[in-house]
Symmetry: C3
């Protein structure tokens, strides 16, 4: 890269606060920046991230202009644009172009059943395994070590990263991305106790993953017992998430990492769940619900509500409880004081003639 802040401002339709002649040689994060780096401050970046930053110039959205104190303007040149993320990605992707897509087709080092159907321009990388009767669409990437069970169907433009496992008869829509180590369609956790032993209940349903779903590394989605477990269109699941059998996840949900849903629970659309939150079985989480991180959900949550806590409650209620919890030791002391005072009052009152007469 060989530019000036001013030239980049012209390209991005932005405004320079500082030295427009400053040379820019690379783009990088605030932590990794030096004097010839253009770096980036997002909407969520805390100002303290600039404390030890040595960037020459920082791209920032016009929405944060009030944060740019005189002292900061002294230290950095700012390039202010309307949408800082868009602008930064434009530069970053130009600086770090993706490797050209490999033109592999079906690798001779892949293991592909003769009955499988592979679409045009799809790459089956060396070391991938494709079972009987599998149908894979066009423009897909099936990376090394992925194992696709018999009878699976994969829509166009999907990517299965290394070591993804699909058990038999799983269905993926188009533009689905499954990250490394994801397991889709393992048996749901169903047993019944008979004569002192847990007997396996066959899990004869499957999994349907709709268009534009992305699932993070080492997450697991179990197959249904009778019908399919469903991950709705556009939903994004982070790493190490567990979705148990028979769950019906709605469209455009976003779940952070290590979230767990027990069996047969459903969610509406646009549900957001923070990391590590657990949801009990057979519950209904409404549309547009937000659940805070580290919560434990034991009840249905109605549409549009935000819940938090252990056990989870509507967030205002939960917040009041958490605030009061912080005061608990003090409350204990105050309660003890009150008891003493009341005892003393009571004794004193007993000593007043009328009271004793009562």
């Amino acid at each position: 890269m060989d530019a000036t802040v001013g030239a980049l401002a012209a390209l991005l339709n932005g405004e320079v606060l500082g030295d427009a002649e400053l040379p820019i040689r690379k783009v990088d994060s605030l932590d990794n920046a030096d004097a010839v780096t253009l770096s980036f401050m997002g909407g969520g970046t805390k100002l303290r991230a600039l404390d030890a930053c040595r960037a020459g110039a920082i791209l920032v959205g016009s929405g944060r202009i009030d944060d740019l104190t005189p002292e900061l303007r002294e230290r950095f040149t700012f390039l202010v644009v309307e949408d800082a993320l868009d602008a930064f990605l434009l530069i970053l992707q130009r600086e770090r172009p993706p490797r050209p897509r490999a033109n592999i087709g079906v690798s001779p080092q892949a293991i592909v059943a003769e009955s499988a159907t592979i679409g045009e321009r799809t790459n089956i990388h060396p070391g991938a395994t494709i079972g009987e009767d599998v149908v894979i669409g066009c423009d897909c990437e099936i990376l090394s070590g992925a194992v696709i069970g018999d009878g699976c169907r994969i829509g166009d433009h999907s990517t299965l990263h290394p070591r993804v496992v699909l058990y038999p008869d799983v269905e993926l829509g188009e533009r689905v991305i499954l990250h490394a180590g994801v397991v889709v369609g393992a048996d749901g956790y169903g047993y019944r106790l008979r004569d002192g032993r847990f007997e396996k209940i066959p899990q004869l349903g499957s999994v349907r993953i709709e268009n534009d779903v992305e699932i993070g590394a080492n997450a697991t989605i179990d197959r249904g017992m009778i019908g399919p477990t469903v991950i709705g269109e556009g939903t994004k699941l982070d790493n190490l998430i567990m979705v148990a059998h028979n769950c019906q996840i709605g469209k455009h949900n976003v779940f952070a990492s290590q979230v767990g849903l027990a069996g047969s629970t459903s969610t509406g659309d646009y549900v957001r769940i923070g990391g590590q939150t657990g949801i009990a079985d057979h519950l209904r989480i409404g549309s547009n619900v937000a659940l805070a991180a580290s919560s434990a959900i034991h009840k249905d949550v109605p549409d549009g509500e935000t819940w938090a806590g252990y056990p989870a409650r509507p967030v205002e209620e939960s917040f009041r409880i958490l605030m009061a919890q912080g005061k608990l030791p003090e409350m204990r002391t105050r309660l003890r004081d009150l008891e003493k005072q009341v005892k003393r009052l009571s004794a004193e009152l007993k000593r007043t003639p009328d009271s004793e007469a009562a």
Copy 2:
């Protein structure tokens, strides 16, 4: 499928509430049912699951007969049998027969050490790797991408799904099922701080998994430091569970997903643990113990008890605390009111002559 509810009732020794002539073309879950579907209501199915259900007929156990309101009987034909799950599985397995077992033997595309011993009728699928001195029993399935370390022993009729990893010298009993991505025998997490650096403590024990154990996708069972980590006979572990080094898990335990046990903890027999619960190290969990989901266990739990909460306590105690927590903000208000009243009373009492004399 081409039957009537009446014909199925005859087959299943059941009773029809409704239209015995209703044609049945398929079996499916309540969510996926249409007018010619036989669906299924289990012991745990909530009645609201029928709200939007369009099934023609529903198989149900006689134990739920009181739930079948006149309105429900109006909407659906019910097929009532003694054991609904048994009956439904009979039909479902007939409708969805498993693929015939492949007759692969040792695939030429598998990587098998010459010193390994493979039992009769065992399939080593393409892309599986079998180390030196491994002994695998009869009628096993070792699926693609599984990696079996040197010296492992696997009992008859066991199934290792794709990408299971056994580190060296792990022992599996008979009829063990390990789902995709399970890792057994990785080094326990043992270090000691020396001169400012954590030095690895060699983990020279192993793992013993007894007969009829099933372990869910991407779960991890670490090897012991000296002796074996043990998973007792008949125990079923769900996905993404962590069992640390030296744990001794009893027989017929059932742990839901994302449970974590720290090192050297033991459980008795018939222990049930809800999802995401964590158990500290060196604890003893007695037999027939139940631990609620999302609990944090910091103490031993005696035989037969049910614990819950954060930190966990006996469930009645924990429940009383949780109930009281819900009242905390109100309690704060009441405490403040009381303080005011007592202050006022105190002032008033001071003004009574006798009190002042006291």
Copy 3:
């Protein structure tokens, strides 16, 4: 093994409490010991672990000499040394010598890009996949099923266990150990909502793992959005841990299993985190911080502090709150009693003439 306790004491420079002539045939854990076994009691071993122990002799550190009651000395012969772990490992490693290192080089059954550079004495095991432009140092072990993406760099003496996945352009230092199923460099979880759909934000950073890091089975470390996610030198992460994009983990940290860190959080050096603890995004955890297991961290934690709880607070504060929580039901009763007493007192006071006059 064919020794006596006395002979071992001479070897280990230890003292025998009991029968120095006792024959020792093997070494094993307390659970697995018999009359001719030398077993081991560490600094953290609880005395009750000896209740059902049948070991002939037990190696123990001099620091625990006061725990060895007359009754225990009656039951066991003790071999007392200064550093019991060191001494036991010496014996154990002699009894269980590791398998000799395989001399494989680049296996013809591995899939290795021509542009990859592999150091001397490095083993690329059968079924491993090495991408374009990868550089691997000397004396490394890349085990079966590992998938190394294009452009990765791996330092000398590193071990990648079966099925480790490195996405492209990940950097590992020297003596790094990644256990089976670890995924490094998957896309960070970044989206933005546009016109009702979550649009993927490209994750163009990478991951840098420094020297002497060890990461447990099935853990996941996501790549940064712009710069690298960093795991600092000497840090040890347990199984099933999640480190989100842009995190900067310091040196010599130890995190127990199932811990989760949300995006852009940093830790200092020598941070210890107990199992299942979750940390929110964009936080700073100072050096020498300890966070208890099962905690939920929503705030920065200053250097040197120990925090615990849900939500986490400094441990003394948290402990007082937890203690008070245990008293909550009792506090409710006491509050109710007080209210009654105050009401009665108030009524009584009203009936005293002076009070009524007031």
